[in-house]
C-alpha cells in the first residue's frame, strides 16, 4: 500500500462520476427518442436496421409482447453462437484451423454470452476462430448488453406512465442502445486500445525466435504418443528445448472494447485482461476499468432524468458508490499486506517506490496491487467478470469481497441495465419494509407497491441465491464436482462457490483453478446462467407492465421520500442484510476458514 495506490483509486472514482452525468443525460435523450445531433450521423443506420427486420419502432408493446420478442431475440442469438462454434472448422476466418467446439462447451458458451455472463470455460487463443470471436461472441456482447438496457428502460417507462398497457417498443430500445451508445463508445475505446498495443488484425499467429531458447522438463512419450513410465512406475520426463515463441493475434481490440463497455467480460485470450495483448499498459488498464462502470453509473442519471427527478438517480448512485469505495479500500488493504504464508521465504513484500510489494502471485507488474484490486472489485460490482489478476490467488478475505459482491445480486452498479433494474427491485423491497414499519401502504415514485409487485420482486431477489447455494451443494456432493477443484481445503470449496455465484449472477469471473470445461460444470453452470438471466427479466418486465397500468398516487405525508440519505441507508441495509444473511454460512466454510487457518497456524 502506498499513496500512489490510494491516489489511483481516487482518480478513478472522480473521473467515473464526472463522466457518468453527461453520458447519463445523453442516454436519457436517446431513449426518449431525441439526441438529434447523433441522429444526423447514426439515424441512417438505425432506419436500415428497422427496415431489415421489418419492424415499426413507434408501435407500443404490452409487457408480454415485449418479453416474447426479447426472448426470441436472445434464444436465436444463443443458437447462432452454438452453431458457429460447432461448425467453425468449416467456416472462413479460421487461420489456426481450430476444430469445432465440443457440444457441452459450446452450450455453456452460448448460454454464457447470450445471458451477458461471459464465463469463459475455454481458452480463447487455443479454441475460437476469428469468425467465432467476432460474429458469434462479439455480436452477443452487443446484443446481451442492449437486452439489459432495454429491460431497464421498459421498467423506467412503466414507472412514469399512467393507466396504459404500453411499455415501449423493444426493437427501438435494442437498436438505439447499440447504434447510439454501445457502438460509438466501443469504436472510440477500441482505437484507443489499439494505440496502446492491443492487437487488431486478421493475420494468423506468428512466431518469434527466442532471445534465449527455453529448456524444460516435459513428460516423455513413446512413438505412439503414450506416456512413458520409469523404473519406479512414475511418469518419465525428458529435457526439451524450444527456440520459438508463438505470438497469438486476432481482432482483439474491437472485442475487448465492447466486452468492457457492455459488462460482458469474456476475453479474447485465456487470461482475459491480464494478457499483455488485451491490456498492455497502465493507461489501457485505466480505460478498460473506466469502461466497466461507465454505463452502469451513467444509467443512474438516465433514470433520474426519465422519471423527472434527478435526486432519485443520485440516491441510487450514492448507495452504489459507498459500497464500492468501501470494499475497494478493504481489498487493497488486504492484498497490500501480502501473503503471510510466504513471510519466512526471504522475500521483500513491502511496497516502496521501486517495489509493488504485497501479494503479487497472479498479478502483473504493470498494474501492481492497487490497479489489480480496484479491477477485481469493479468487475464484480458490475456484472462484468473480466479480470486483470487471478482471483484464485487473492488472499482469502480479499477473495471473499468479489464473491460477495456477486452474491449481493449484482446491484452495486451491476450489469448494464440489469444492475439498475436489480437495484430498483431492491428499492421496491426497501419501501415495502419501511412501509410495514410505519403501517402505511408502500409506494415508489407514485406507484403503489401491492402483493403482485412484491411477489415479482421476491422472485427476482430469491432466484439467484437458490441457484448459487443449490448448485454449490450439488457440486460438492458429486464426484464430478469435487474432482475439478485445484486447491486443497476451504479454498477448493471457495472455487466451487465462486463459480456458481458467478454463473447465477451473470458475472463470468472465476477462481480459475477450477477445471470447469467438462460436462458437469459446462451443463450446470450453463443452466444456472440461463435461469438467472431470464427468470429475472420476465418478472421485471411484468413489474413494468403492472406499474404502467397503475394509477399515479400523489405523494402524501405518509410517503417515504426515496431521494434522501435516510433512504440510501435503508436501501443499503436491505441489500446488505439480504446478501449477508443468505451467504454468510457458505462464506464461512470457504474464505473465512481459509483466512483463520492462514493467520492462525504460524
Amino acid at each position: 500500500m502506498n499513496a500512489a495506490g490510494w491516489m489511483q483509486m481516487a482518480v478513478y472514482v472522480a473521473v467515473l462520476l464526472l463522466l457518468a452525468k453527461p453520458l447519463g443525460a445523453y442516454m436519457g435523450a436517446v431513449y426518449e427518442g431525441r439526441a438529434t445531433r447523433a441522429q444526423r450521423v447514426a439515424g441512417g443506420i438505425e432506419r436500415v436496421l428497422y427496415r431489415a427486420a421489418g419492424v415499426d419502432p413507434g408501435r407500443g408493446m404490452t409487457w408480454v409482447e415485449y418479453a416474447l420478442a426479447l426472448l426470441w431475440f436472445n434464444l436465436l442469438g444463443a443458437l447462432a453462437v452454438y452453431g458457429m462454434q460447432r461448425l467453425q472448422g468449416m467456416l472462413p476466418l479460421n487461420p489456426q484451423d481450430f476444430a469445432g467446439v465440443s457440444p457441452d462447451s459450446a452450450f455453456n458458451t452460448a448460454a454464457s454470452f447470450a445471458s451477458n455472463t461471459n464465463w469463459q470455460g475455454y481458452g480463447g487463443e487455443s479454441t475460437m476462430s476469428y469468425l467465432t470471436q467476432m460474429a458469434a461472441l462479439g455480436v452477443q456482447n452487443f446484443a446481451s448488453a442492449a437486452t439489459g438496457m432495454a429491460v431497464l428502460v421498459a421498467l423506467i417507462r412503466g414507472l412514469t406512465r399512467r393507466q396504459v398497457d404500453d411499455i415501449g417498443n423493444v426493437w427501438f430500445d435494442l437498436v438505439r442502445s447499440i447504434v447510439y451508445i454501445l457502438l460509438p463508445l466501443s469504436l472510440l475505446l477500441a482505437v484507443a486500445l489499439a494505440s496502446q498495443g492491443v492487437v487488431q488484425t486478421f493475420d494468423r499467429y506468428t512466431a518469434v525466435a527466442l532471445i534465449e531458447p527455453t529448456t524444460y522438463d516435459a513428460l516423455a512419450k513413446d512413438a505412439a504418443g503414450a506416456p512413458v513410465v520409469d523404473a519406479q512406475g512414475k511418469p518419465a520426463t525428458e529435457r526439451v528445448t524450444v527456440a520459438e515463441q508463438v505470438v497469438p493475434l486476432g481482432p482483439a481490440a474491437s472485442q475487448i472494447a465492447i466486452k468492457q463497455l457492455g459488462t460482458n467480460g469474456g476475453g479474447f485470450f485465456n487470461v482475459n485482461s491480464a494478457h499483455p495483448f488485451e491490456n498492455p499498459t497502465p493507461l489501457s488498464n485505466f480505460l478498460e476499468l473506466l469502461a466497466i462502470l461507465l454505463i452502469p453509473a451513467g444509467l443512474c442519471y438516465t433514470f433520474g432524468r426519465m422519471v423527472g427527478d434527478m435526486r432519485q438517480g443520485r440516491a441510487l448512485l450514492a448507495a452504489m458508490t459507498v459500497v464500492f469505495v468501501a470494499l475497494a479500500s478493504v481489498t487493497y488493504w488486504l492484498e497490500g499486506a501480502g501473503n503471510p504464508s510466504l513471510a519466512q521465504a526471504g522475500i521483500d513484500a513491502i511496497a516502496t517506490a521501486v517495489n509493488p510489494g504485497g501479494n503479487m502471485e497472479g498479478k502483473e507488474v504493470r498494474f501492481g496491487i492497487a490497479a489489480s484490486t480496484l479491477w477485481a472489485v469493479a468487475t464484480t460490482a458490475a456484472s462484468n467478470g473480466s479480470v486483470n489478476a487471478m482471483h484464485d490467488s487473492l488472499v482469502p478475505l480479499a477473495g471473499l469481497v468479489p464473491m460477495w459482491l456477486m452474491q449481493l445480486g449484482e446491484v452495486i452498479f451491476g450489469g448494464v441495465g440489469s444492475g439498475l433494474y436489480g437495484m430498483l427491485v431492491f428499492a421496491i423491497l426497501a419501501v415495502f419494509i419501511a412501509g410495514l414499519m410505519v403501517g402505511r401502504t408502500p409506494e415508489y415514485l407514485g406507484k403503489k407497491i401491492g402483493a403482485f409487485e412484491i411477489k415479482m420482486a421476491s422472485v427476482v431477489i430469491l432466484v439467484p441465491p437458490f441457484l448459487v447455494l443449490g448448485g454449490t451443494a450439488l457440486a460438492v456432493m458429486l464426484e464430478a464436482g469435487r474432482a475439478a477443484v485445484a486447491n486443497p481445503g476451504g479454498q477448493g470449496f471457495a472455487e466451487i462457490l465462486y463459480a456458481f455465484s458467478s454463473a447465477a449472477n451473470n458475472n463470468g469471473s472465476a477462481f480459475g483453478g477450477l477445471s470447469a470445461n467438462n460436462e458437469f460444470y459446462n451443463t450446470t453452470l450453463g443452466v444456472a446462467m440461463l435461469f438467472a438471466r431470464y427468470w429475472l427479466i420476465v418478472p421485471v418486465l411484468a413489474l413494468a407492465g403492472a406499474f404502467a397500468a397503475a394509477k399515479h398516487v400523489p405523494a402524501s405525508e405518509g410517503t417515504l421520500p426515496t431521494h434522501t440519505p435516510l433512504f440510501v441507508v435503508v436501501l443499503l441495509g436491505t441489500v446488505l442484510t439480504v446478501g449477508a444473511l443468505t451467504f454468510v454460512p457458505a462464506l464461512a466454510l470457504g474464505p473465512v476458514v481459509e483466512h483463520l487457518l492462514l493467520h492462525g497456524t504460524r
Partner: protein, 191 residues
Amino acid sequence: MVSHFFPALRMLIALTVLTGLVYPLVTTGIARVAFPSASSGSLVERDGKVVASALLGQSFSSPRYFWSRPSATLPQPYNGAASSGSNLGARNPALAEAVAARVAALRTADPGNTAPVPVDLVTASASGLDPHVSVAAAQYQVARVARARGLSTSVVEALLATHTEGRTFGVLGEPRVNVVQLNLALDRAGP
C-alpha cells in the same frame, strides 16, 4: 407467440452484419493505418530477424541475462499459445514450496547477494507472459548480470535506468522494467 420470430431473426442477422463484421473491419482498418506496429503485435527485430514482441515476456535462465518473473504456462514457461496463471491459493503448500525453490535458485546463481528477494521476482504472473519486473527486482540482479558479462555494474545500472518506466501520468500502474527490451539492449552493449 411466433409473430415475433421472424422480426427477431432478421434483426439478429442485421446486427450480426453491423456489430460482428462491419465494426471489427472498420476498427482493423483504422488501427492498421494509425498504429501499424502496435496493432499487429509490437514485434521487435534484431539483424533482420523477429526476436520478440515488446509486450510478451520470455524466459531467461542464463546468468548473463536479467530473469523474467516465473510463468505458470504449460508445458513450457512463457508459452504464447496458452496464457495462464498458477491459480494457486494463498495457503496452498505448493505455492510456498515453489517460492522457496525460486528464492534458492536466485541465491545459487548469485551467492554473494543476501538481500531479500523482491516479491514479484518469485511469484508467477497472472498471464504467464508478463514482460516486466519491478525496478527492485531488476536492481536485485544487476551485480550477477554485470559479473557474468564482465561489465562494470555502473554500465548495467545505466542501461537499467534508461529502460525503467515510471507510473503513467505519475499516478497509474507501477514503475517497471521491460526485461525483453533490457536484455536486447544488454546484447547490443557488448559481450
